[in-house]
């Protein structure tokens, strides 16, 4: 993300300085999602999509209306003090962390707000839940953006809304992808929180103290997508569903692993071993996801981590090619074998024997289960 490199200019001109440089998009930049809203509101086709087991949705609505974090996101003077102490490389990488997190939360806000608006007539309960989730995301994004102001920066969220490219996903993919991103968000935040609680010498900026309550929001959001998936058994019960489940698990885990390794200085800055942190988050997210997806990856198989580590190395080489002085044509040539190698590792990881999983509500063998 290039929007925060000149902190002085930004301080003088507010966030406008960042917009002049434009937005550097890479494959791993946090994405803004959009979906086929018309497909989602095509009443005849989509109405059954949101219409089963209302009890679960009513329960979720009550839970979201509770608003556990209504009074939680309150700042104090510790923030500015901590930010002023941070200089150099650590400061830069912190700013980047805040930016990326803010962008991710804000993109969630936009998606949920739009869905809440569009689904009002199709299913008012589900629409209201989306609106309440957008309330949560707005709070998170706002809090992160205020954090950026401690570093004399701010994301121009209005500009981002208009200027970002949106990645288009068909509705059912939104369910898989967003479920995973919410649950992985929960595990990332709670892991950082609990690690810093046990190792307070690395608590260099107070925002992490808020993560424990914060991440419960993410966890609840994931539960809502779980209910949406359950309302659509065809997303969970056949061989296609299993293939998609594995695909989304793989994309989300690999993206996080590669992204985090590129920013290893941040995780090391708060006292974590980046790869161990990521593996823990992946293992726990996978275990959680096994409660709903019909198939998940065998992430605890040591071969899975070996593949991830090889992908990291290849990715580093791809990035290194980009940094050389060669002309773009030469760079692309050099990248081809590397990208092929990456694709091969990804495919091999995808083809690893999966773990059968899913909710007990759908398990054929459920009557034999002992709880």
């Amino acid at each position: 993300m290039s929007s925060a490199t000149t902190s002085q200019a930004a301080a003088e001109k507010g966030s406008k300085a960042s917009t002049k440089k434009g937005i550097k998009e890479t494959l791993l930049t946090p994405r803004f999602y959009t979906t086929d809203f018309d497909e989602m509101t095509d009443f005849e086709e989509m109405e059954p999509l949101f219409n089963t087991d209302q009890a679960e949705f009513e329960a979720l609505l009550q839970e979201f209306k509770t608003d556990y974090n209504q009074t939680h996101f309150v700042r104090n003077k510790e923030f500015k003090e901590a930010a002023d102490k941070m200089q150099g490389a650590l400061r830069e990488i912190f700013v980047e962390f805040l930016e990326r997190s803010c962008t991710a939360e804000f993109s969630g806000f936009l998606l949920y707000k739009e869905l809440g608006r569009r689904l009002k007539k199709t299913n008012p309960v589900v629409a209201e839940i989306f609106s309440l989730m957008s309330r949560d995301e707005a709070r998170h994004a706002g809090f992160l953006n205020k954090g950026l102001s401690d570093f004399n920066l701010a994301l121009d969220l209005g500009f981002l809304t208009k200027a970002r490219k949106y990645t288009f996903f068909k509705p059912k993919f939104i369910f898989y992808a967003t479920y995973l991103s919410e649950k992985i968000g929960y595990w990332r935040y709670i892991t950082i929180y609990r690690h810093l609680k046990a190792n307070p010498e690395f608590q260099c900026y107070p925002i992490f103290k808020y993560f424990e309550n914060w991440c419960q929001d993410e966890n609840r959001h994931g539960d809502f997508f779980s209910a949406l998936l359950k309302a659509q058994p065809q997303f969970l019960n056949d061989w296609k569903a299993k293939l998609w489940s594995r695909f989304f698990c793989l994309s989300v885990y690999v993206t996080m692993y590669l992204n985090d390794w590129q920013r290893t200085a941040f995780y090391e800055g708060i006292g974590l071993n980046t790869k161990e942190f990521d593996m823990h988050v992946i293992i726990e997210t996978n275990r959680t996801t096994a409660r709903i997806f019909p198939a998940v990856l065998d992430v605890e198989n040591p071969e899975f981590k070996r593949k991830l580590d090889r992908m990291v190395e290849i990715n580093q080489k791809i990035l290194a090619v980009g940094e050389t002085d060669d002309i773009p044509l030469v760079k692309n040539f050099k990248r081809i074998p590397l990208i092929a190698a990456l694709a091969s590792e990804l495919l091999a990881a995808y083809l690893m024997k999966p773990i059968e999983s899913g909710s007990v509500d759908f398990a054929e063998f459920e009557p034999q289960l002992v709880y």
Binding site: A59, Y68, I190, R194, H195, D223, M279, E284
Partner: protein, 214 residues
């Protein structure tokens, strides 16, 4: 964190040990208890009645104005629950612990009476042979009078059995058989933080079944 508040709540609850929680029209029962704890036996004030004289006065006034001969009705309420073996409920699901503390904190903030409990080896399971025949013991139930919340928790926990029953009092609903719980350390631990400590569930146990805190 709310742990300290929760523990305080727990220790206060444990002081209610021998008091009936259902209505009584006998004025003498209202003033039961030691001098330092001015709680009331009327439900809805069990957890609130610690601010002392103010509540005592209003309770006395209520007794004075009511007809002593009038029988107060017992409230038959519906209790919803989820149940699974103790290891799953108390040792494996760390997010579950976080949720319960969050809810307890919220209830404290909004001055709401606790309506959810963890019950170890609940006696009400005897009414559900279809459940007990497929339940590893010891078992632990999450019980609440809030039905939709239990439905939400089922969605979250998934690997639990869900049912409901009616009871005349909270005490009857939450009656249980004391069990000593000890869990083995997990074989594999990948987290960069230590596991939550055993005994976290104390603040959620029904009043009277908590071990006393020194």
């Amino acid at each position: 964190m709310s742990a300290s508040t929760a523990l305080n709540l727990g220790s206060l609850c444990s002081s209610v040990v021998n008091l009936p929680t259902h209505y009584s029209h006998k004025p003498s029962l209202l003033l039961h208890g030691t001098q330092s704890q001015q709680f009331l036996t009327l439900p809805n004030t069990v957890l609130k009645g610690f601010s002392g004289s103010r509540n005592m006065k209003s309770a006395v006034a209520a007794v004075d104005s009511s007809d002593p001969a009038e029988k107060q009705e017992t409230e038959r309420k519906k209790y919803y629950f989820l149940v699974a073996n103790a290891k799953f409920m108390l040792d494996e699901e760390e997010h579950f612990q976080e949720q319960l503390f969050e809810r307890l904190r919220l209830f404290g903030e909004r001055d709401k009476e606790q309506d959810f409990w963890l019950v170890i080896e609940p006696k009400f399971l005897d009414k559900f042979p279809n459940i007990t025949k497929r339940l590893k013991r010891p078992a632990v139930a999450l019980v609440s009078t809030n039905g939709p919340w239990i439905t939400f928790m089922k969605l979250r926990l998934d690997r639990v059995l869900q049912e409901s029953f009616e009871a005349d009092s909270t005490e009857e609903a939450l009656a249980c058989t004391p069990v000593n719980l000890e869990f083995e350390k997990p074989e594999k631990w990948t987290a960069p933080y230590p596991k939550y400590e055993s005994g976290w569930w104390e603040p959620f146990l029904p009043p009277g079944s908590q071990t006393s805190k020194v």
